[in-house]
């Protein structure tokens, strides 16, 4: 089992014990689309203006604009998170709680909320969470090996590392990052950035010669 599967397990447990009524949520996305078409401006459904601004700032730090495409903020990542959170109390709590944690941690470190902090303070915080995330992933995979692989069970002096004290922040950052990345790469902007050219009707399927020659030339099968 990889870490993603573990997280999924945790998430499942949370959902099972919660009072989630997903089916009860109506088709808010359709309403959202209709609303957007009508007004042209996005209307917040779950988050406060402050929370939303922080999500937007996180989105543009996670996937920034560059010479190829815009940022995840431009691609609607914060709106995506707001819409889904408004349909799911568990998800909303992950973000309400996570954003509050982030501001508290920023005030401790830099005496400023995340949104009001300087850019280098914001990225310093994210760097700390990324590093803590690496350590946490390593710890979890070691623990998995310890629990699951029979060959390791005889290691009498094996100790599992203590959980990182930033674990709550690591989990929140994982949520905001994965949903931001999803929002960006499933948007017209992100799909264009990658250069996906399919899901079209064609009368004939052909593989361009220049692509084949490019790869062959760079492969171990290059001639001469």
């Amino acid at each position: 089992m990889d870490r993603r599967a573990v997280l999924r397990g945790i998430a499942l447990a949370i959902t099972a014990s919660g009072t989630l009524e997903l089916e009860a949520a109506q088709h808010v996305h359709e309403e959202t689309a209709a609303e957007k078409a009508k007004t042209g401006a996005y209307k917040l459904k779950e988050f406060t203006d402050g929370e939303f601004k922080t999500l937007q700032r996180l989105a543009e730090l996670i996937v920034p604009a560059d010479k190829v495409s815009g940022s995840a903020k431009d691609a609607g990542a914060a709106e995506f998170i707001d819409t889904l959170s408004s349909q799911n109390a568990t998800l909303a709590d992950i973000f309400h709680g996570g954003l509050a944690w982030m501001d508290a941690e920023m005030r401790k470190r830099y005496t400023s909320s995340f949104a009001a902090a300087k850019a280098e303070q914001q990225t310093a915080m994210l760097d700390i969470l990324v590093e803590a995330g690496r350590i946490e992933a390593e710890r979890q995979s070691e623990q998995l090996v310890y629990e699951k692989a029979s060959v390791y069970k005889d290691f009498s002096n094996y100790t599992v590392k203590r959980q990182n004290e930033l674990a709550a922040g690591v989990q929140f950052f994982d949520w905001v990052r994965k949903m931001t990345v999803d929002a960006f790469y499933t948007s017209p902007m992100g799909i264009k950035d990658l250069g996906y050219l399919g899901n079209k009707a064609l009368s004939k399927y052909e593989v361009p010669k220049e692509a084949l020659e490019y790869a062959l030339k760079r492969s171990p099968f290059a001639q001469g």
Partner: protein
Amino acid sequence: MQQNPRSQEVFDVVVVGSGAGGGTAVHVLTAKGLKVALLEAGPMLDPAKEFLEHKMPYEYDHRGAEEGGKSYFGKGKPFGFFATTSGGWQLEGEPYTVGEGSQFQWFRSRILGGRTNHYGRMSFRFAEYDFKPHDKDGLGTNWPVSYQDISPYYDKAEEFIGVCGTVENVASCPDGKFQPAPPPRVHETLVKKACDKLQITCIANRRAVIHKPTNGRAPCHYCGQCGRGCQTASAYSSAQVQVFPAMKTGRLKIFDLAMVREVLTDNNGKATGILYIDKRTRTEKTILAKAVVLAASACESTRILLNSKTSEFPNGLANGSGLLGRYLMDTVGFGLNGYVPALEGMPHYNTDGNGGAHLFMPWWLWDKHNKLDFPRGYHIEIGGGYGLPGVGSYHGAARRLGYGADMKTKIREGYGASIGFAGRGEMIPNDHSYLELDPNVVDKWGIPVPRFHFKWTDYEWKQARHMEKTFTEIITAMGGRVSGLSAAQREANGISVPGTIIHEVGGARMGTTVKNSILNGYCQSHEMKNLFVVDGASFVSNPDKNPTLTINALAWRACDYLAEEMKKGNV
């Protein structure tokens, strides 16, 4: 409660299940002029509504994460929002149990067409040796039929449903009646060159996708979204290719949302029909027929037989052998991904093709088992190309790369440079792998549920290790590097969880006598001549060939035989 009016219509045949087996059955039986009732536990299918084949993720505010982000909590559809599957490993109100020390996941489809709506459409014939496995290595049991018996029905099935491929003369994967195959993509050409170097056979893939007009169906238009269902039915699904056309004969009546509990019998060794729960009204209803054909899926058909207890058959219908439920098998699965720098920065092109891999590797060591530490073999499926990005596509990359401009650049550069291999191998049937009824649990329809027992043995584990070694060699030969899990983690989880490959077969196997099997070579009960099982339950072994095409062929042959026997008055 049971509604059984005196004047009730008696059908010639009642077919339970509308997937590959049931779809083939109604096609063959109605063509022979028989009056057929078809029962499906799910609803009718409306391809125009159900199939989302040309949608892009941004057409939905949830982008495919589903309402409230269900997919983030493991509660989304099993293959994602856009996939057409209407079913899964867990169905609300329809549980199953697993014996202590076992792992098994039971996939069930609940919609007209069953799993043929979403399946991979890999269509490989069994080899001659696959029908006589015991003769080859002393393990398992021979089939009561030979390749020569089934070959004409492979011909019929391939010509009717349409299978692309090329004639190759490979003994482990016999040639069929093929439609033209699409050309290999760039990464597949590199795989082939690596395989040539490693002396691994690599040939055009064989999939149930048509590339020329066939029986009024349009050829593939290369949108590459077969898993979402195909509105033009260019990719085979039993609902579109067999059931809908059979409805046009006027001889087919469909009962949907019909959850079958048991086969009805008289006391003279004959099946008289089916008892089912109408899911709309939660009432028991019956269908009367001169013959009963079960095609509800291997484990569901077995469950129906186990639940059809009579004084004559106290341990389940047609279970004189006591083997009903035994020799349950899945396919051995193992996958490994790699990163191939030669593909980085390549001029992008549309790699969707016909939706699946255009090449595959049939088992190439079929005559070299003296050099291997496991019996039987596997084939290799290839993944790669510039796929349609979706929710979850870059979670792994993001975790690896952190965030920011560097992450964005690396995701862009690595797009299309990853490659994946999946091994699909043969399991040896064993005494620890079977299903029985759980005496303590019923589903919400009041029907006792199956309890599964399953164990991989060293045969399967060693085969999976051979897959791992082979995939590593191919990735390395392409100039790539393996990007999978650490070795220690693989040590704990190096083989698919039983049931997750969704190739579960066996449970009511065919054989030569009433002592060693449930069915004869025509999928007909030894003990009840008007009872047939035409899904994967009849399988004696589970070769590395994906089972659907063989289910099509065996069901076709069984129904030809049934129609003839009815004409002769034997059934």
